[in-house]
Symmetry: C2
DNA sequence: CGTAATCATTTTAACTCTAAAGCATCTCGA
DNA sequence: TCGAGATGCTTTAGAGTTAAAATGATTACG
């Protein structure tokens, strides 16, 4: 950020205090204000984590996310599985994996069982790198949430579980997928 | 999405249920699980809104967000103000505004007071288009959150306010900005 | 006044991401 | 068995995005 504009993390002398989407006044529906607040929280946290990953480990957030998925799959995962768990497109994963292979952090090997598939797995270096990042990451996240006491943390978790279920139900209900294999 | 992979909104026959980042087991710190849950909720909602904006209005989410900011500023905003409120870089706004100008949804005029600045404002078409989108958008958001009763909505809002404050404080505390005008 | 610092914006390079189309492989039922 | 549809992945074109540097304009101040 060579220019003067604070992008993430507005400096303490910022005129606009916590700058964010939430210009929606009190006249807006509560659900809309809730969504904007949710989005603001996520964006702020994401920006902070992105910046720290870059500054301290020279890694981008998408790469970190991908490594995190692989770390939990000792035998590796297919491209599709990665795509689903990361909630991004297949094409996106293709490029991401390519770059990580070039950095020797992951391997990509054909699946002998299914010649369409590629199995992606962490290299030894990849795993070691990720472990260092993950430890720091967990600390950052703790710091960011340290204004919540344990009861609030638990309560927020509960409400987000309800939210996730609500969103999932609404999406499922309105989904207009072609193949509706499941009989209604 | 011509391929068979559900990107957003996994179809009801998905094998992995609500596919998301949250492979983190119970062994992880509560704050980390909370953050992953928060991220999942936001990503799911964002994906759904993005898809509907595209399907029903042929507009992308970043463009919608930019229009939303302008809608609340009858006299327009500078590029910097947009950048701050949208929490994206200046360069990003430059390109976004360029495309919206090409679509006749916004205007960009030099600020007579300050020749460095550009004032961006909605055109009449832009405002009318946005109003239609905003109405639909508000309805979508309501639907997505309709699994929460009013008390839960209020409670979640309260906890996110605490979260936002916590994140803001942590970021402010650890910010290593060059110009620290405010005396410690 | 003059100049250094600041500020608003654009530019650049590299990366991330989506949506859609295309190719190869697999599955399964007639 | 064989062909249609489903599946796994890549490719393509375009948009969005960041970080960093560059440009031009303003402000502060000595």
């Amino acid at each position: 950020m060579a220019d003067g504009t604070a992008k993430y993390a507005p400096p303490e002398n910022s005129a606009v205090d916590p700058v964010d989407f939430e210009t929606a006044g009190a006249e807006a529906k509560p659900e809309l204000r809730l969504w904007l607040r949710l989005l603001t929280c996520t964006t702020m946290i994401e920006a902070e984590i992105r910046q720290r990953l870059r500054a301290e480990f020279g890694v981008t957030l998408p790469r970190f996310d991908l490594l995190a998925q692989l770390d939990k799959a000792p035998d590796g995962m297919t491209m599709s599985a990665l795509s689903q768990h990361l909630m991004v497109t297949n094409g996106n994963v293709t490029g991401l994996v390519e770059r990580l292979v070039a950095e020797d952090l992951v391997t990509r090997t054909p699946d002998p069982q299914d010649r369409r598939s590629q199995i992606v797995a962490l290299t030894r270096i990849g795993r070691r790198s990720f472990e260092a990042m993950a430890a720091a990451h967990e600390g950052w996240v703790s710091d960011l949430f340290d204004g919540l006491d344990p009861a609030e943390t638990a309560q927020l978790m509960r409400l987000l579980t309800v939210t996730k279920r609500s969103v999932g139900a609404t999406i499922g209900r309105t989904a207009t997928k072609k193949a509706r294999n499941v009989p209604r």
